[in-house]
């Protein structure tokens, strides 16, 4: 409940940031994104870039899985398609980087549409498993289509260049990837203010009654797959540029699970959830690393427990959130906000 926010028009009521405070927050957030490079070191910038790429990808998966209810375990493979498109163009057709990125998104969208076809026949868990199959088939293509992918040897990508500046380091890359991330997130947020986004949610909640309400299931399911793949393509393309080299093992099933975990932990079906989840899941290993550093006086060979502990924590986060906080970090965030909103008048 908010005091003194009577809307003057329905347009205002439908706005993304309804109140002045929200606008202020958004501006502050943008400002801190701008200031961040000036106060952090390269390593933190590296993480920031990685987080941004993951936010894009997770947001895409959230549209498909969180909002439309189509579980996909092939998201990483779609990113792979984007990455290989960029890599191939970079090595074979000296096209500029933004064209490559758009092409990556385009190709991935096309592949995503095909991979989404099973969703017209099957749903729920069956679909999830069909996407595992799709991801294995893509993996097979990455490995065996040697003339394009160089097979298991992997393929190198030159860093992108904008107006003569080579973005070969996080401190420059940051200025490219963060704005893209912000735009992609805003686009996704807009989507769910309109009929298209609502139709997605309707399909998630009850697909047959959605269809009787005039929502064409095949069209919207495929649309959702297409949008998610578009995001995956952009993220994959950026990933290829950022890493500078990719191979078929860069996009394993585990990575798809990672993104699924990110949206679970963040909160399925909220834009904020995708963002928070991607940030949280990308940074958790870092926190663990510090934790293990702290614990080093007490255990011998602390380095050697890090990776199993990471695996365990990864699983425990999925289980824990689903058990105790099924709406994820986004819900925790809302609760915090509510608390401070009414503070000191608690309800």
């Amino acid at each position: 409940m908010r005091i003194g926010s009577a809307k003057e028009s329905y347009i205002a009521d439908e706005a993304l940031f309804a109140t002045r405070t929200q606008w202020v927050w958004f501006a502050l957030l943008l400002a801190s994104l701008v200031l961040f490079p000036f106060v952090s070191n390269l390593y933190w910038l590296y993480l920031a870039c990685l987080v941004s790429i993951n936010v894009i990808s997770a947001t895409g998966l959230n549209i498909l899985t969180g909002f439309t209810g189509q579980v996909s375990l092939g998201h990483a493979a779609f990113m792979g398609v984007g990455a290989y498109t960029v890599a191939w163009l970079d090595n074979n057709a000296q096209t500029p980087f933004y064209l490559n990125l758009l092409a990556a998104a385009g190709v991935t969208t096309a592949v995503g549409l095909v991979a989404g076809l099973p969703s017209l026949r099957v749903k729920g868990l069956y679909l999830a498993i069909a996407t595992i199959a799709a991801s294995f088939i893509l993996q097979f293509v990455f490995i065996n289509w040697e003339s394009v992918t160089r097979g298991t040897r992997g393929i190198n990508i030159e860093p992108p260049e904008i107006m003569g500046i080579v973005l070969d380091n996080p401190d420059t890359f940051y200025w490219m990837v963060v704005p893209i991330m912000v735009v992609m997130v805003l686009l996704a947020a807009n989507l769910f203010r309109t009929r298209v986004g609502r139709a997605f949610i309707a399909i998630r909640d009850r697909d047959i009654s959605a269809s009787v309400l005039g929502i064409s299931l095949p069209a919207y399911k495929l649309m959702s797959f297409a949008i998610a793949s578009f995001y995956a393509g952009i993220a994959g393309g950026l990933y290829a540029y950022f890493m500078g080299s990719i191979n078929p093992e860069s996009f394993p099933l585990l990575m798809s699970i990672f993104f699924l975990a990110a949206i679970i932990v963040g909160g399925m079906g909220t834009i904020l959830g995708g963002i928070l989840g991607a940030i949280f899941m990308t940074l958790t290993p870092e926190v663990l690393r510090y934790g293990v550093d702290l614990a080093s006086p007490f255990i011998d060979e602390p380095g050697a427990v890090l990776s199993p502990v990471r695996t365990i924590v990864f699983g425990a986060l999925i289980v824990g959130f689903l058990l105790f906080e099924p709406h994820g970090l986004a819900e925790i965030w809302r609760r915090i906000r509510r608390f401070f909103h009414l503070w000191p008048f608690r309800t």
Partner: protein
Amino acid sequence: MSVLELEGISLGFGGVQALSGVDLAVEEGTITAVIGPNGAGKTSLFNVISGFYRPQQGRVLLEGRNLTRLRPPRRASLGLGRTFQNIALFRGMTVLDNVKLGAHVRMRTGVFSAMWYLGAARREEARVREEIEREVFDFLEIDHIRRHPVAALPYGLQKRVELARALAMRPKILMLDEPVAGMNREEKEDMARFILDVKEEWGITVLMVEHDMGMVMDISDRVHVLNFGQVIASGEPAVVQKNPGVIQAYLGSGDVNSLRERLMGESA
């Protein structure tokens, strides 16, 4: 004039013949009730009309247009609105979003304009929002709950939201599957009033399935009786009510007092 006509609809599931050769016409501007024993095929008939089931035979005509080959979404956009026997709201959404979804078929925004949310998309959202507020929420007296998630609402209100959603479609014909099942008398009275107003103020033709005979007899203009997938009687409520076949198959004694005596007899 009939808005909706069914011609020779037959529908079977494996061994079960749910509908066989049903002919039925719904006159414009009426409340038409379909009654019949459980399992007679009423819900199946609705499902055939909205396109969820494909009949083996027969045609569905809406304002003379053959719908038989169309899929459910297309039929909805041509003006078939409906509510469901078991509430089928989108439980993850608020009342407002549920109702907005009803207006889905009347909106045009595509993905691209949706994502940029500029100009046309923005205007369309605002327009629909305003219409819903003005016409639907006000009418059904649910404006106070527009921001509530539907899953938490009491049953009666959920039914009302479902009606609101169907109205937001601005359908030519509104199909209600047991709109007052599970309600007490008081709530039934509210719902009856809404249904009458839908007909009278909105000018929408209503086709409804209902087992509450009191209500069916009071508010409907025409009644069709279905039994074992066949129409066994049609006509004015008062006439149908006296049809011995209908009484035997469906209505029973219909008299509380005689029932009471019967029950007393049973339990004596």
